[in-house]
Symmetry: C2
Subunit: 195 residues, 2 copies
DNA sequence: GTCTATATAGTGATAGAC
DNA sequence: GTCTATCACTATATAGAC
């Protein structure tokens, strides 16, 4: 029973989010029109404005939710040995980002299309995530577990390296994601001098 | 003497390229109009079509020239010891990318906006660059200089890590670019197990 | 809540005068 | 080679009917 009009609030909201995520990731925020999104959702363009005040806010909410969920999902144990905490970060980051390629891609690529206030908000969240890794590295350096010179720079280097997995890894090839996690853990461990 | 009309072919061409580079990097290809570019160049929009058949070709040429210049600028010595070749790659990559932030940014971010044929052409050039690093790593593994398990994956990891410098480094801060090059060389050397 | 219709503005690209 | 003017479309967002 394909209704073409009427009330669908409980399904249109999530469908809008999903459609926007996919289309923004595939073509870029500026290249996607509200009409294209509406077509994928299965409504007319005007109906989308029951769910978002404008296109900019739609983008911001996608990015903000992604960052908040990322921060919430990463569980660090400050009392565990730093090498163990770092190993967990590496495996977590690769797995979490692999599971959400569209949200990850948008949150990297569309920063330019945020209004200044929205940009600042997202950058603050991103920095909070980077700081979690930096804290692990600093703790390890303080205890003599790691020999890396500059934990701040090392945190940038490690995150860039790990996020890069999304640009080339496809499941079904010669390596499983577990293989990739193991190889990156080897490289990261060496990188920070964790014997 | 500010001429507002007439023949400027020798200056408009370069100015178009530079204006497009800056605007695409700042706002994204899809978000920038030919009129905006023309305004920065100092001509009317119609005049741009004396220099490019269309907007898509303009983007493609910027990216292709960047990749060709990158490939041409990197000088590897296959007879040198792999650790020395790797050290050179690290320093070169950081310096070259730091000097061309706009072209680098575009060549990463605007792949989605290329036509399929143009995308393939740019990807081929990018792969050629990655292969240069992989060749160094493989040579080092063969000689026992490096212990990295998988040179292909390591080349992705190293390039992602090095390119990431452009997202955070600003000159005039606590570190010079030379400092950054030294710290990344330390990390890369450790990463691939080059004692 | 979704529809149709529309206001207002902007888009890439082209034609022809100079 | 650049200009002005324009074509044919598309954009975001809103108003009011249902």
């Amino acid at each position: 029973m394909a209704r073409t009009t009427g009330s669908h609030s409980d399904i249109t909201g999530p469908r809008l989010r999903q459609a926007a995520l996919e289309l923004f990731a595939a073509h870029g925020f500026a290249a996607v029109s509200m009409r294209q999104i509406a077509a994928r959702v299965g409504v007319q363009a005007g109906a989308l404005y029951n769910y978002t005040p404008d296109k900019q806010t739609l983008l911001f909410n996608l990015m903000q939710d992604h960052m908040l969920e990322l921060l919430d999902a990463f569980r660090d144990d400050p009392d565990a040995p730093p090498p163990q905490r770092l190993a967990h970060f590496v495996r977590f980051h690769i797995q979490y980002h692999f599971d959400r390629p569209d949200a990850v891609f948008i949150s990297y690529m569309e920063l330019r299309n945020l209004s200044p206030e929205n940009f600042t908000a997202i950058e603050t969240l991103r920095r909070a995530y980077e700081n979690k890794l930096e804290a692990i590295l600093s703790a390890g350096v303080a205890r003599g577990d790691f020999t890396v010179q500059d934990p701040k720079i090392a945190s940038f280097a490690v995150i860039a390296m790990l996020t890069g997995v999304n640009t080339w890894f496809k499941s079904g090839g010669r390596l499983t994601l577990g293989d990739v996690q193991a190889r990156y853990w080897d490289m990261v461990r060496n990188c920070v001098g964790a014997g």
